[in-house]
C-alpha cells in the first residue's frame, strides 16, 4: 500500500466528530491545517517579537514576505486595494506554508485537496463580488463591458467576459490543486521506482540511480512549484481584487 501514489492524499479521521448527521471529524487534513497555521503564525510571531530596528535574518524573511505581498498588491490593485492586504497576505502565507509542509515525507499536503483550494478560490472571488457590488452597486457590472468594443460585438464580448469571470474560481483552485497533486504523485512514482528496483539485487540498484537522480531533481522542482503556486495564487488574487476596486478600468 505504501507504493500507491495516491495513498498520501487519503483523509483519515483522527477525532471523529459528527454534528447533525454530517461528518466534521478532525482528520489528518485538519491536523495539517492547524500545523500550517501554527507554523506560519509562529514563525511570523517569533521572528518579529524583537521588533529589531536592524533585523535578524529570520526577521528579514518576515519583513520580506510582508513587503513582497504589499508591493504585489499595490502594483496589482493600486493603493485602494491595500485594504485587502491582510487577506492576500494570509492567503499567500497559508498556501506557501501548506505547500512547503507538504514537502516533508509522510506529511499531508493540505493544498492537494480540491475542496480546500476551491474554498480558498471561492473566498477570493466571493470577496471580489461582494466588495464590487458593495462599493460600486450595479456599476460593478461594467466589469463585463470593456471599453471601445463595437456594438455588434458587445453581446459576444460580454458573454465571454462573464464566462471567464465565472471560470475564475475553477481555474484558480484547479491550478493550485493540480500542481501540488501532480508533483507529489510524480515524486512518489519515481521514489517508488527506486525502492522497487533496488529490490532486484546489484543490477537493480544500478538501475535505481536514474530514478533517484530524478527524485532529487523533482524535489528541487517541487520546492520551486510550492513557492510559485503560492505566488501565482496571490498575484491572481491581486488582479481579481483590482476588478473589485476599479471595475471599469480594463
Amino acid at each position: 500500500m505504501s507504493n500507491d501514489p495516491t495513498h498520501q492524499f487519503l483523509v483519515n479521521k483522527i477525532v471523529p466528530i459528527e454534528i447533525g448527521g454530517i461528518d466534521f471529524s478532525f482528520t489528518n487534513a485538519s491536523l495539517f491545517m492547524v500545523a500550517t497555521v501554527g507554523a506560519a503564525a509562529g514563525f511570523l510571531y517569533l521572528t518579529t517579537s524583537q521588533r529589531g530596528l536592524i533585523p535578524t535574518r529570520a526577521q528579514s524573511v518576515s519583513e520580506m514576505s510582508y513587503e513582497f505581498i504589499a508591493s504585489m498588491l499595490r502594483e496589482g490593485a493600486g493603493s485602494q486595494g491595500m485594504k485587502f492586504f491582510p487577506m492576500v497576505f494570509s492567503l499567500f502565507m497559508f498556501i506557501l506554508t501548506a505547500n512547503l509542509l507538504g514537502m516533508f515525507p509522510y506529511f499531508f499536503t493540505v493544498t492537494s485537496q480540491i475542496i480546500v483550494t476551491f474554498a480558498l478560490a471561492v473566498f477570493v472571488v466571493g470577496t471580489v463580488i461582494l466588495y464590487g457590488f458593495y462599493k460600486h452597486g450595479l456599476g460593478f457590472l461594467k466589469l463585463f463591458v470593456p471599453h471601445g468594443v463595437p456594438g455588434a460585438l458587445l453581446p459576444l464580448v460580454v458573454a465571454i467576459e462573464v464566462i471567464s469571470f465565472l471560470s475564475r474560481p475553477i481555474s484558480l483552485s484547479v491550478r493550485l490543486f493540480a500542481n501540488m497533486l501532480a508533483g507529489h504523485i510524480t515524486l512518489k512514482v519515481f521514489a517508488g521506482f527506486v525502492a522497487s528496483l533496488s529490490a532486484f539485487g546489484a543490477l537493480g540498484i544500478g538501475g535505481a540511480i536514474l530514478p533517484l537522480i530524478m527524485t532529487v531533481a523533482l524535489t528541487g522542482l517541487e520546492f520551486l512549484v510550492a513557492f510559485l503556486q503560492a505566488y501565482v495564487f496571490a498575484v491572481l488574487t491581486c488582479m481579481y481584487l483590482n476588478d473589485a476596486v476599479h471595475p471599469g478600468s480594463h
Binding site: 495516491t6 483519515n12 461528518d23 497555521v37 506560519a40 503564525a41 518579529t48 491582510p86 475542496i115
Partner: protein, 204 residues
Amino acid sequence: MFVTAAYAQSTTTEGAEAHDAAAAGEVHTETGVAHEAEHGSGVFPPFDSSHFASQLLWLAITFGLFYLLMSKVIIPRIGGILETRHDRIAQDLDEASRLKGEADAAISAYEQELTDAKAKGHSIADTAREAAKNKANADRAAVEADLATKIAAAEARIADIKAKALSDVGAIAEETAAEVVKQLIGGTATKAEIAAAVKASAGN
C-alpha cells in the same frame, strides 16, 4: 424484522460504494488494497466528497484564525517595525543634512574669515609700506633742504671772502706802488696820486 431489513439496506448502499458489501467492517484486516478501498470508497482520494464538510469546517476554523492573527497581530507589528525603521532612516537623513548644512556654514564662515584676514593683512602691509615711503621721502627732503642751506651758506661765505679779498687788492696795490716808487725814485708820491694811478690801472 423491520429493523433487520433497514440494516440490510443500509449495508447494501454502503457496500455498493465500497466494492465489498458483506464484510465492510472486517476488510481492512485482509489486504492492503481492500484497506484502501474501504477508506477511499474507490474514489480518487482528493475527489472523495465524504470528507468535504469536515475539510471546509476545519479550513474555515484554521484559516479564519490565521486571518485574525495576521490582521490583528502580525501585520500591524511588521508594519510598525517597517514604519519605525522608515521614520528612523528619514530622521537620520534629516540629521545628516542638517549637519552637512552646519558644516557648509562653518566652511563658508571660515573662508569669509580667511578672506577678511587676507584683506586686513594686505591693508596693513600697504599702510606700512606707505608710511615707510612717506618717511623716506620726508627724510630725503629734510636732508636735501639741509644740504641746500649749507651750500647756500658756503656760497655766501665764499662770495663774502671773494669780495673782501677784492676790496683788499686796491689797498695792497697802493702800498706796493708807494714802496716801489720810493725805491725807484727815492721820493715820495702822495697818497692821492698813487690811489688815482691804481684806479686808472684797475680801470684798464
